[in-house]
């Protein structure tokens, strides 16, 4: 099946090392989202799969086959670019069938495929138009159609929705998910938008500076992060992180896991603080509470607490996450866990 495997991938641009002996597997049929800050290497990896920005060393396997030296056209992958990369001087039809024509697909077959795919994508009635006369969303669909018509083993997408307006982005997101469910082909999707990542992906690969921080399902990444970077990258507002006195070890909890009460509660972790700011968002309210020199964000369904009032924050033990001096997670099974928990 169309599993993708990276083996000891290194990528250098001149002297700059972007990826260093990276190993990774992408599950067949998954909708894998690669996410991370700018420059983390996610797009680089995508382009390595496509063969348009080949690795400096290392191997890439698709479906068990070594595609490392193959030209892009022979890899059986399709890509949707951020800026669509639609050929401006060709009609929509010519754009979609360009690859088929180059692969000597007979005319009748070509026309059938183009018609079929363009109907699915919703551009069936614009085949004779030029891209310059179409909107961004429509151009994106052309790019999608062009990719689909290749019937590839893998769909690669490089931030395809980032140039669309917000409303279109949301609807296209759903369409892409439906497309994936329908085709059941492997999707590798690069984005920097965590909402997209969390809502679309079956698997998430979080990267930073060329290193994979964590690969897991959205749920696991959210609730059980491997390290501090992951914990803080995913989630809005960010997870609250507080250091133990004079220590590089820290603990954290998500804003929505904090209980606010007027009287001290029966929680494992209880502190008394003052509400510094209050943001009413309608369905929920975000408070900033200060105590002992710490500033903690709280997401609550209660909007009754007033600014400058005294309040008690409470967090259940299971919702407190520990991170050691190397920013790695200390889980309950870890021998060090109890020691630090007692300090709270």
């Amino acid at each position: 099946m169309a599993e993708i495997r990276f083996e000891d991938i290194t990528k250098k641009f001149g002297d700059k090392v972007i990826l260093d002996r990276l190993n990774l597997s992408i599950e067949d049929g998954s909708f894998t989202v690669m996410i991370g800050p700018s420059g983390c290497g996610k797009t680089t990896l995508l382009r390595i799969i496509a063969g348009i920005g080949p690795q400096t060393s290392g191997k890439v396997y698709l479906d068990g086959e070594d595609i490392s030296g193959l030209p892009p056209a022979k890899r059986n992958v399709a890509m949707v670019f951020q800026n669509y990369a639609i050929y401006p001087t060709m009609t929509v039809q010519e754009n979609i069938e360009f690859g088929l024509k180059n692969n000597k697909v007979p005319k009748a077959e070509r026309e059938r495929l183009v018609k079929e795919i363009s109907e699915i994508v919703g551009i069936g009635d614009m085949l004779n138009r030029k891209p310059s006369t179409l909107s961004g969303g429509q151009r994106q669909r052309i790019a999608l159609a062009r990719a689909m018509v290749k019937k590839p083993k893998v769909f690669l997408m490089d931030e395809p929705l980032s140039n669309l307006d917000a409303k279109l982005r949301v609807s296209m997101r759903t369409e892409l998910i439906e497309l994936h469910n329908r085709l059941k082909t492997t999707f590798v999707y690069v984005t920097h938008d965590q909402t997209e990542a969390m809502s679309m992906g079956t698997n998430i690969i979080l990267m930073n500076k060329g290193i994979i921080q964590q690969e897991a399902t959205p749920s696991v990444i959210y609730h059980d992060p491997d390290n501090l970077f992951t914990a803080q990258f995913i989630g809005s507002p960010q997870m609250n992180i507080i250091h133990f006195d004079d220590s590089a070890v820290c603990y954290g909890f998500r804003p929505e896991k904090v209980h606010l009460t007027n009287e001290p509660g029966q929680y494992f972790y209880t502190r008394r603080g003052t509400i510094v700011t209050k943001e009413m968002l309608g369905s929920e309210t975000i408070y900033q509470v200060r105590y002992a020199g710490n500033s903690v964000m709280v997401k609550s369904l209660e909007d009754t607490f007033e600014q400058d009032s005294e309040v008690y924050v409470g967090v259940k033990q299971k919702n407190i996450l520990l991170f050691d001096e190397n920013e790695m997670r200390i889980r309950p099974e870890d021998p060090r866990y109890d020691g630090w928990m007692q300090k709270l």
């Binding site: 056209a73 022979k74 001087t89 180059n102």
Partner: protein, 302 residues
């Protein structure tokens, strides 16, 4: 004097403010009127007159035109100019496109080659013509020495009516190719790299990529280059003056040279010079108009 255009009803301008832009464009308009508009009108009017620069001109209607169009020398001049333009532009642009694509990657060798090729463009045409006249000298010139070295016979280059036109075309090409290549290269740089990447995924080979992506994408700049190169070729003078004086005989006499001769060498024939100049302007005008016409249709735009 400062204008504080804050506390006033919108759209209101003082007389000074209304006048200001006109004053700003005044010097430019004055010089343009004096040295472009007036001479053109003057030239057109005088082309209908007989004049020897001294006495008062007399109106002769289309006589001047009839005269020059009946003269083989004039028709030849047009023909020479057109031939020259076709070769210089045709060869110049196709070779330049080839070079631009071949040298399009930014490597040391490519950058060096492009930079060296461009240099003749900033050198005076006079000097270019002179050094090539020397290189093409039929007795002692380097070119014949090289030909002889390879066992080929010497050519008379600028001294023979068979090879003179070829000689000035070579000189023009040598001067212009680097410039054309640079321009086309710059246009190619503006084509988004992503298009080529998508084409790679679409299994397009280099030839396909050139004709289906590169060429259409640079067609605006190519077209403009085509027009400017052609109208520029119509205006050639320096090379002819330096290398051949329009000869041998009149084998390399181009239109501008003909005009110059009629106006300054032959006495009392200024009317003919004006008529010929009007023809030259018409040729350039027609081309430029064609440019703007075709611009809106065939050239591909984003």
């Amino acid at each position: 004097m400062t204008d504080k255009s804050i506390a006033r009803p919108a759209g209101y301008k003082t007389p000074w403010e209304k006048l200001r832009p006109y004053i700003y464009i005044l010097p430019a308009m004055f010089f343009l009127a004096l040295f472009t508009v007036y001479p053109v009108i003057d030239m057109v009017i005088r082309s209908f007159e007989k004049w020897n620069l001294v006495a008062t001109p007399t109106w002769v209607g289309l006589d001047n035109y009839k005269y020059i169009f009946n003269r083989k020398e004039f028709i030849d001049a047009i023909w020479h100019t057109v031939t020259y333009a076709i070769f210089v532009v045709g060869l110049g642009l196709s070779l330049a496109t080839l070079f631009a694509v071949w040298l399009s990657k930014s490597t040391f060798m490519n950058n060096l080659t492009r930079t060296v090729m461009f240099m003749p463009h900033v050198i005076a045409l006079l000097s270019v013509a002179m050094v090539w006249a020397w290189i093409m000298n039929k007795n002692n010139g380097l070119l014949n020495l090289v030909l002889n070295f390879f066992g080929l016979p010497s050519l008379k280059w600028a001294d023979s009516s068979d090879t003179a036109m070829m000689s000035i075309i070579i000189v023009a090409l040598w001067k212009a190719i680097g410039y054309n290549t640079m321009l086309i290269y710059a246009a190619i740089q503006n084509v988004p790299a992503e298009l080529y990447e998508a084409a790679d995924l679409d299994n397009a080979n280099s030839v396909k990529k050139f004709f289906k992506i590169t060429l259409p994408m640079i067609s605006p700049q190519m077209f403009m280059l085509l027009i400017t190169a052609t109208t520029g070729s119509f205006r050639v003078f320096d090379t002819v003056r330096v290398m051949t004086h329009g000869g041998p005989g009149t084998s390399t006499q181009v239109l501008v040279y003909y005009i110059y001769k009629q106006a300054f060498i032959l006495n009392g024939k200024v009317g003919y010079a004006f008529a010929a100049a009007v023809v030259l302007m018409a040729m350039i005008g027609v081309l430029t108009l064609a440019y703007f016409r075709v611009l809106s249709k065939r050239v591909h735009y984003q």
